[in-house]
Amino acid sequence: MSYLIESNHLCKKFGNKQALADINLRIERGRIIGLLGPNGSGKSTLIKIINGLMMPTEGEVFIDEKKPGVETKKIISYLPERTYLNEWMKVKELLDYFEDFYEDFRRERAITMLENLNIGLDDKLKTMSKGTKEKVQLILVMSRDADLYILDEPIGGVDPAARDYILRTIIGNYNENATVLLSTHLISDIENILDEVIFLQYGQIRFHASVDEIRMKEGKSVDQLFREVYRC
């Protein structure tokens, strides 16, 4: 069976700094995976390489057996950890934009979610709070029928109520063939929805296991294990 994400000997250097070292990943379809690790452990770098926003120094990565390119971008729905939308656009114009470029974008789904979170279609991003902007972005990303959702810190900046809604949205929206890869350090909040976790440290995979395995073998929650692995 082919993997949804497969990386071989993936390395990334910034000058002398080794951001990723020898990452060999195998990720299957239909999983919700937490990409966990402290700041600077290489989470965002790995995500950017998978999305084709950054070139690896060595090694390679395949998404659905293809190198990052037009075909992989069609099936990945990516939420970066920053606001990537043009400030001057209205929500309605953003919907047009996504609808134009992504065949798998479901406008109706986006409109329903926007209504639930009380965001108007004629609102301009410029006038929104940071949290609201993040919600808009997440809605756009989750309104696609993608094979792979990559969410970089999706719940960092929003209030707990919205956080619950967003998590429900993530679980509720994706189909069973799709995989969600989400990076965060708010582990306890998402622990219950995860199937697998990947712990990154100093640019290397410290740990890659299913959540059940951790609970069974180690007798710990992911949060506990995280605190032990990364004890300062």
Partner: protein, 268 residues
């Protein structure tokens, strides 16, 4: 996808540029009306101030349009917005194409609007026919010395179009080269721009000099180079040289930008 990129690019940059350019033309029209009804003939100080404001506006619009288009490219490709641009299911060359096309069109509109606004201001009755007459005389004269013909017009138009394309590509390549640096990317872009412009100018000057010297040799006349141009009708040679230079520039820049976006992209 290419059509959609062009559409969204046009929408994104068009709003502000349209307003600014319409304002410039309106300024000229209002100025012309004020001139023709002679309200300001007494208040010469006010008149001069208004003229000064107009001149500054022309410069601001002219320079501003180019800066705006360069900044748009930088922001949309290499800052936070790049996270969306580069995850759209399109090839990098399609981004370059759509942005170059839209920028070229706006640089053309910008030029037309500036010249147009000046023409509106200085316009008088019969100016059009006078202009055509003068143009005819010049063409005739040049035609007689064998300098100018249908070919010259065609070559000139092609060269003008090519330079409309190579102007935005010069901004884009400087910005893209700046991205190759780990730090001070903006500074690197600015430095890259001045280096590129200077190198191109040097090549241009050198190649024209060689061309003139060659003409000089064959003709065995020793006059000022400007006169040589007229007497020997090397206009076509000169413009062809310019055309080839613009073409080489545009193609080379295109290939390099495409390479950087495909193989050396590193969004921070």
């Amino acid at each position: 996808m290419l059509g959609k990129l062009i559409k969204h690019e046009w929408k994104a940059v068009g709003k502000i540029l349209a307003i600014v350019h319409i304002a410039l033309v309106l300024m000229a029209i209002i100025g012309k009306i004020m001139l023709s009804i002679d309200v300001l003939s007494e208040a010469w100080l006010l008149w001069r101030m208004l003229l000064l404001i107009y001149i500054f506006s022309v410069i601001a619009v002219g320079v501003g349009t180019h800066i705006y288009l360069a900044v748009r490219f930088y922001k949309n490709m290499y800052t936070d917005e790049g996270y969306l641009s580069f995850t759209l299911p399109v090839k990098p060359w399609q981004h370059i194409f759509s942005k170059t096309l839209v920028s070229s069109i706006w640089i053309l509109i910008d030029g037309v609007a500036i010249v147009g606004s000046i023409v509106i201001l200085v316009m008088y009755k019969g100016m059009g026919t006078e202009f055509v007459d003068v143009l005819n005389v010049i063409m005739e004269e040049l035609g007689e010395v064998g300098m100018f013909g249908v070919w010259s017009v065609i070559l000139t138009v092609i060269t003008a179009i090519l330079s409309l394309v190579s102007i935005p590509l010069t901004y884009y390549i400087a910005i893209s080269v700046g991205q190759l640096f780990n730090t001070h990317k903006m500074l690197a872009s600015v430095v890259a721009y001045f280096i590129i412009v200077n190198v191109i100018q040097a090549i241009g000057t050198l190649s024209s000099a060689v061309l003139i010297l060659k003409v000089d040799e064959t003709a065995e006349v020793q006059t000022a180079s400007a006169n040589i141009l007229e007497e020997l009708g090397v206009y076509n040679d000169m413009i062809s040289l310019g055309m080839v230079e613009q073409l080489v520039m545009a193609v080379a820049f295109w290939l390099i930008i495409n390479y950087i976006m495909n193989k050396r992209l590193n969004l921070e």
